[in-house]
């Protein structure tokens, strides 16, 4: 049996996470889904709103899963896996973790990647962030959630224009897919097990006077994988807190490119693809960074690569 995909659904308070998940769970394709709901309050409410109370719906209350309850999340994931193996609960093929509105997704990703038993049985499928079209991208928690997301769901587009928020999201995280939703009405395939986005399609715009800047580096020369690993691990140690997201398609000399995907300090095991999508075999790396200069990052990577020759 392969690893079970885990999707984090994050988003600021009141941005529509629970509505989205409740709607998704009602979809016929989503039956075999376990849900872990995290709430800050003493008495959990969201799991009732999901309208599906069974053994596969777990509530983590009285704390935030990105800080005090990280061990609890790992325990619950292990427990779900054990109970599934023993046939005590209906089988599930996917886990959705709903974070609190104030959660930072990065430490949760770290838990999934670092805890030995959890990483053996589960794999991160993606981070979905909800953003309220009316409220916009104002709160720092919301900005961080969108900056690290794979998919951004703009909610409440029935009562507010989504154009402005779409521009803001693209400016912050061009690699994220943006979908609009009214009352969580979305096809699950738009959020789960999606194909990787072609990084060449992305457009980068200068965001004046903002700390968080996305940028893309393109390299004509082949990159040495050993030098790259040394460079990125050193960069993550030095600037990991400010390197919110890194995605890349690298020419390291094989038939196809190497796919790289990282969230702050966590880099997922790189994947070798069989072939390039077309004749353009240049390496490309997308960064969403805080106070990181594009030229300085490019210069540094090239110097490390040259040291390998």
């Amino acid at each position: 049996m392969g690893k079970t995909p885990v999707t984090l659904v994050t988003g600021f308070l009141g941005s529509g996470k629970t509505t989205l998940i409740a709607r998704l769970l009602a979809h016929p394709d989503m039956g075999a889904t376990a849900v872990i709901v995290n709430e800050l309050g003493e008495v959990g409410i969201d799991h009732h709103l999901l309208r599906r109370v069974d053994e596969r719906t777990v509530l983590l209350a009285s704390g935030c899963v990105c800080c005090t309850l990280r061990g609890d999340l790992a325990d619950e994931l292990r427990d779900l896996d054990n109970r599934r193996a023993r046939g005590e609960i209906p089988a599930f093929e996917r886990v959705v973790v709903e974070t609190t509105g104030l959660a930072d997704p990065a430490p949760i990703v770290y838990t999934l990647a670092a805890e030995p038993v959890v990483r053996h049985h589960y794999v991160l499928d993606g981070i979905v962030a909800t953003v309220d079209a009316r409220a916009g991208l104002v709160e720092p928690e919301s900005v961080k959630q969108v900056a690290v997301a794979d998919v951004v769901v703009v909610t409440k587009v029935d009562v507010a224009e989504a154009d402005g928020i779409g521009t803001a999201v693209r400016g912050l995280n061009p690699a994220a897919e943006i979908v609009e939703a009214v009352f969580g009405d979305i096809e699950p395939s738009r959020l789960f097990s999606r194909p990787e986005r072609d990084l060449r399609e992305l457009k980068f715009e200068e965001r004046p006077h903002t700390e968080i800047q996305p940028f893309c580096l393109i390299f004509d020369e082949q990159l040495d994988w050993t030098a790259f690993g040394i460079w990125l691990t050193m960069l993550l140690q030095a600037r990991g807190a400010d390197l919110l997201r890194v995605k890349g398609l690298l020419d390291v000399g094989g038939e196809g490119p190497l796919l790289l995907n990282g969230v702050q300090h966590v880099v997922h095991p790189p994947e070798h693809l069989d072939a390039w999508p077309d004749d353009d075999h240049r390496s490309r790396l997308v960064f969403v960074g805080r106070n990181l200069e594009r030229e300085a990052v490019a210069r540094s990577l090239l110097a490390f690569n040259a040291a390998s020759l």
């Binding site: 030995p116 994988w225 050993t226 030098a227 690993g229 040394i230 460079w231 990125l232 691990t233 050193m234 960069l235 140690q237 030095a238 600037r239 880099v267 997922h268 095991p269 790189p270 200069e293 300085a296 990052v297 210069r299 540094s300 110097a303 490390f304 040259a306 040291a307 390998s308």
Partner: protein
């Protein structure tokens, strides 16, 4: 688990699927970087790395992910790959 020393091994993403030759090359490259901070690295039986400073202090690290924090402790300063002085030294 390493049978010789009992160190719990973990595969780091930057070291996954690479053989002994790649590990040797990694040590060579790491030493080019670490030399700027007065540190040297050696491979111990292909299982762990030993990091040393000029005063003879040393630290054992199991994988590249934890190498940099140990190197910072021995060097007594942050190690920043964007530092122009380091890049000049590499060139």
């Amino acid at each position: 688990m390493c049978g010789l020393c009992g160190v719990l091994m973990s595969e780091h993403w930057a070291e996954e699927g690479t053989g002994r030759r790649a590990r040797g090359f990694r040590v060579v490259l790491l030493n080019r970087v670490l030399a700027h901070y007065g540190l040297t690295l050696s491979d111990w039986a292909g299982s762990v790395y030993t990091l040393r400073d000029a005063k003879g202090r040393s630290a054992v690290v199991t994988e590249i992910g934890s190498l940099w924090s140990e190197a910072e402790k021995l060097a007594g300063r942050p190690l920043d790959p964007l530092d122009p002085a380091l890049l000049a030294a590499l060139g």
